[in-house]
Symmetry: D2
Subunit: 181 residues, 4 copies
């Protein structure tokens, strides 16, 4: 990743701790499996360059600031190995969110200001819901956006493509693969 | 507590997991010791009547949704027994906040709407800082307020009294002892 | 419109005071002309039933609470008659917004609570931008949504249709024509 | 005023368009008369140096972005000459607010970011209500604060002094006279 002089990056990982127990959840799970490797590679590269990793995740109606409980609540036969690979590490940030957007009802904006972040790299699921609405909230708060297209997934490919198109046209996001620095 | 037909209550406990490592922290600690018993009694009564208990606490710059870590970070010789008594239980809600107000950068408002809360009972520390600014944010969101005066503490008694006076006059809070139902 | 016992409605009219001076603005203007009559008819019906009409509009970088100035700033040969027909009347509410969503940086949520609104009827432009993102912000704040499909317009029909589909599937909005009460 | 290289200032004028029709309103009016000259002098100096002037004012339940209407609604025998002197000019910003804080339900934060403001100079009334709660909201958003003590007024001198003390101690504001650059 090119690091512009006055720009600092953060990697956002949205809703990857997920039980997939909802309509089309099985389809979303299949598409999610394909983005784990690209996200983990990107995360490794970001950490090597000293950029922060920030998980923002649904709290599954627990309303308790306790990520382990959320992981316990979500794990099932279908997603256990996925969660084991993607779950946050001790030196990473993790916040819970109550609604679609990672900015709504969370300390994300305050954290980003503290870290002097100017460009958000958004990854995770679902691309046309929580990723899209987080991207718009980031745009309204005047962050630059990079959406690595191989790091977001939606229930259907059409939904994912429309979300990418919207983030490109409406939110001025840079849409490119995670390997295209 | 009288339960009015169309009114639901919640008990807020603010910043009681605290390291007291700041200017006048020793004075605040002394005053805080005096409000533990009234808060615990009130909490017990509230739970018996089925009302929710909600902790909102500073996260000590950890930016991680993990209350155990915050407790570990805060404990010291001066406050260990206090924290042990007041810390949240498994059936209670706990959220982290990044700034003075329990509403700023948190899911508190969303949680209160989910619980259909109309009257907030605010307890904790410091009375003239986080309690006062939380109370104003609650007032702007049109919650009714009850501040049990024996359940908030500030570094000085004068500060505590002025905060109570402001919440009474400006925020239309009911100011009375926790035993006065 | 069926008025359910415990439900109150408000009609939102978004960004209809518009200069259309942007990419594809001419296409959006053509589509906007088609929704004026349905919006005006719906507005008349709503007012007859005593429901509030709320304009929320971009402020064209004026940062001044002055709707007349915004109208002056926007009027041109292409839209003058349109603006004349749709502009707010003295007994209607009007707020300015700085960004896509009608909730972001505005008093809309406070006004809706004051009016005890539970169901928002969203109309205006562009369907896939300001209408969609306003609808998501309304959904996160737990309003019921009705999107009269003949009262929103986007630059392209495909964009408009995808926005309607998203508001239907993701935001649980009722999508039906303004005449289908 | 010293202008530090990387720091930009804005002058906030809060609730000076006021009808004073509330408890102790007559006392507040008397104190407000004393701060008009210092505010106007400071405003003149700020404008000469190219800094923005931003009015944020209660909207008197009109919910209409129309400052002239608010002025009409507020004017009475007691305050007419005061309003005439202090009202905003065409090249100044003015926003309406629905509640105590100038940040709550307004585009103020977005405007300040657009103007690259880092230090807020807060003036107006009432010092211990809208000024204090605006100052805390500014502090939580990490603005530097300067409160010119001769440019804020409250119903009683004691209230004004306590507010100044709180903004000094708790919100790290610089408290000094408007002439002390």
């Amino acid at each position: 990743m090119k690091r512009h002089k006055s720009t600092s990056f953060a990697l956002l990982i949205i809703d990857m701790i997920n039980d997939f127990q909802f309509k089309h959840g099985d389809m979303l799970l299949e598409h999610t499996k394909l983005i784990i490797d690209p996200i983990l590679t990107l995360k490794k590269q970001m950490k090597e360059q000293g950029f922060p990793i920030i998980y923002v995740n649904d709290h599954y109606d627990l309303w308790q600031a306790d990520f382990d409980k959320i992981i316990d609540r979500c794990k099932n036969d279908g997603n256990a190995s996925l969660i084991e690979r993607i779950k946050p590490q001790q030196d990473e940030f993790f916040l819970i969110k109550p609604k679609h957007s990672a900015f709504y009802g969370t300390a994300l904006n305050t954290l980003l200001k503290r870290l002097k972040v100017e460009t958000l790299i958004i990854t995770g699921i679902a691309g046309n819901i929580c990723v899209l609405f987080t991207a718009n909230d980031a745009y309204m708060r005047e962050y630059q956006l990079w959406i690595p297209e191989d790091c977001i997934a939606s229930a259907s490919e059409a939904d994912n493509n429309y979300a990418l198109k919207m983030m490109d046209h409406v939110l001025k996001a840079s849409i490119r693969k995670s390997g295209d620095k």
